[in-house]
């Protein structure tokens, strides 16, 4: 079925795309990368990576519980991810600027996360242990994606991205400068709740393909890389999406030809991008500091 990589790239790609499941994997990868990129960019900017991680982790017991109860895993992912997003949003009160408030909310998020993992273990145990699904829930599976899966994914992506397009500028203001935004009539608190719900929906949908643990690779890594490269908000959002799509597509191809797990290939490429960007920035900064006569007076 898989003839292997032959260095004749056109034939290789033709081979790969002759399989409907691979075509669907590339389609899903595109949608997942855009969706996770945009949501993840704000998550990195708002320093809510830990909250995002916890929401992702609660998807695991959600999926396990749904399967145990005979429901579709999708129901479990959405129910638990959006539920935990609401719990975190409503319980972690305050603007989050005070040290005490931050400590409180990060402790609270950790509590939610630990409990979620424990629940996941219980449901797996109740079900009698299904190792293959456990691995898919945690580390994802881009193979065997149906047309219907792709349509659902695109529908969720369109809804979430439309919502982000509407609130985008206000959310940026509220994230960067909450006190002034609030004084200008931006509903900082409501936006923060809404954003976490959108994050929950994104994580739930993306987790179906990437798993609960590796969803994080696509949420954080492209955005973190782009924010290292540039401080211009629009450009950095664009880079995030481009990096996300490239990493996902090359990762899928690598997984196909190299017979590796998609989780591993996509994450490795994203990690490599981040390391490269960071190294390039450090080198550039060292060079600039080493040059005399460019010392700026504060």
């Amino acid at each position: 079925m898989n003839p292997g990589f032959t260095w004749n790239i056109i034939t290789d790609v033709q081979w790969m795309w002759s399989l409907p499941s691979m075509v669907n994997a590339f389609r899903a990868g595109l949608a997942v990368a855009i969706l996770a990129g945009v949501i993840g960019w704000f998550m990195v900017l708002r320093r809510q990576s830990f909250a995002g991680h916890s929401i992702a982790v609660t998807g695991f017991p959600g999926a396990a519980a749904a399967v145990y109860l005979g429901l579709s895993a999708t129901v479990g992912y959405f129910g638990f991810c959006i539920g935990s997003a609401l719990v975190i949003a409503l319980l972690a009160r305050g603007s989050g600027t005070g040290v005490g408030e931050r400590a409180h909310s990060s402790a609270l998020i950790a509590v939610v996360q630990a409990f979620a993992l424990a629940l996941g273990a219980v449901f797996l145990d109740l079900y009698g242990g299904f190792l293959s699904s456990t691995s898919a829930f945690l580390f994802g599976n881009f193979l065997g994606i149906t047309d219907e899966d792709v349509l659902t994914l695109v529908a969720v992506a369109v809804v979430v991205l439309l919502a982000m397009a509407v609130i985008g500028r206000r959310l940026l203001f509220a994230s960067v400068d909450p006190a002034v935004a609030a004084a200008r009539g931006v509903p900082v608190r409501a936006l923060s709740v809404l954003y976490l719900v959108l994050l929950g929906a994104t994580v739930a949908e993306v987790s179906k393909f990437t798993g609960s643990l590796l969803v994080f690779a696509l949420l954080v890594m492209p955005a973190a890389t782009a924010q290292v490269i540039t401080a211009r908000p629009g450009l950095s959002l664009l880079y995030t999406v481009v990096i996300g799509v490239l990493v996902t597509w090359f990762g899928l191809a690598w997984a196909y030809f190299g017979n590796q797990a998609t989780g591993f290939t996509i994450t490795s490429l994203a990690f490599a991008c981040y390391v490269l960007a960071y190294a390039a920035k450090s080198v550039r900064r060292t060079l600039r500091q080493g040059r005399p006569g460019r010392l700026e007076v504060a």
Partner: protein
């Protein structure tokens, strides 16, 4: 005279959580005037700003801002909250932060490449450039704001507060945590904006000395009372002794700086001022106006 007042408070009082913070404040500010709100820590100086913004109701008296009730004319008010600095790792440029002050409260997202087609966008870009120029921040406005120094960040934030050409500027401790040359620089900048742009400025200050020579009037708040008028009439041994209800002495240093001495405690220079953020019970302790 009442007609052209940018804001006026008459016998205003504020209570938070059932506790009366201050009362009997009378103040009227006209365009181009620079007024400071002074007083010991924890007395509720920042709540004055909140009342003017309309986020906290006055418990008594009348408050009018730009001819309306507080909060109704938010478009014409520039506000600089008390804050710590931006996180060093925040990857947003100073110019973006200023820009958010202009249109950050709008729904939607800015379209890419709109600059080429939309005149509104060009006018907005021009205004951002102009205001950054006004505060003298052009050299570093395109750097990530987290990498700017405290004084540079403060200039950019003043630009953000000014970008919509407000008629009233509310500044909450803008000199806090700056070194002395930067304090002097920012104070001179605020004065210049006041005169040049005819903006009325109300500034909460911990230390009156960097702005003393620019002030038209001060409001001095202590728990239970307040006095307002020219600095030379309010920051005096007589007035402050009456306000505090305990002997207080105002000393004038050779260079004109004022120092308030006296009260139940030693007149400490509050070098460890941030410790007081956590214990507002020190409201009765006297401020050293360095």
């Amino acid at each position: 005279m009442i007609d052209d007042a940018v804001l006026s408070l008459r016998d205003a009082a504020v209570s938070v959580g059932g506790r009366l913070l201050w009362s009997g404040v009378d103040l009227s500010v006209r365009p181009g005037e620079f007024v400071a709100v002074l007083g010991p820590n924890g007395v509720g100086k920042s709540t004055m700003i909140k009342v003017l913004l309309g986020t906290l109701p006055a418990a008594a008296g009348s408050v009018t801002v730009l001819g309306e009730r507080p909060g109704a004319a938010g478009e014409q008010i520039g506000y600089l909250p008390q804050r710590r600095n931006f996180d060093g790792s925040l990857r947003i440029r100073g110019v973006d932060v200023v820009r958010l002050g202009l249109d950050g409260d709008r729904w939607g997202v800015p379209l890419p490449f709109a600059r080429r087609f939309s005149s509104g966008r060009r006018i907005a870009d021009e205004r951002v450039r102009e205001v950054i120029d006004l505060v003298g921040a052009s050299a570093y406005a395109h750097r990530p704001i987290g990498e700017c120094s405290g004084g540079e960040q403060q200039r950019l934030l003043i630009a953000q507060a000014l970008v919509r050409r407000p008629r009233l500027l509310l500044l909450d401790e803008p000199l806090d945590s700056l070194d002395l040359p930067n304090q002097a620089g920012i104070a001179a900048l605020i004065h210049r904006i006041c005169v040049q742009e005819q903006v009325a400025v109300v500034m909460v200050a911990h230390d009156v000395n960097p702005i003393l020579s620019y002030l038209n009037r001060v409001v001095y708040i202590v728990s239970g009372g307040a006095a307002s008028g020219p600095a030379s009439e309010v920051i005096t041994t007589e007035t402050l002794t009456r306000l505090y209800g305990t002997p207080v002495e105002v000393l004038r240093a050779a260079d004109g700086r004022l120092v308030v001495v006296g009260g139940p405690e030693a007149p400490a220079l509050h070098s460890d001022r941030h410790a007081d953020h956590h214990s507002h019970e020190h409201g009765d302790r006297h401020e050293a106006l360095r």
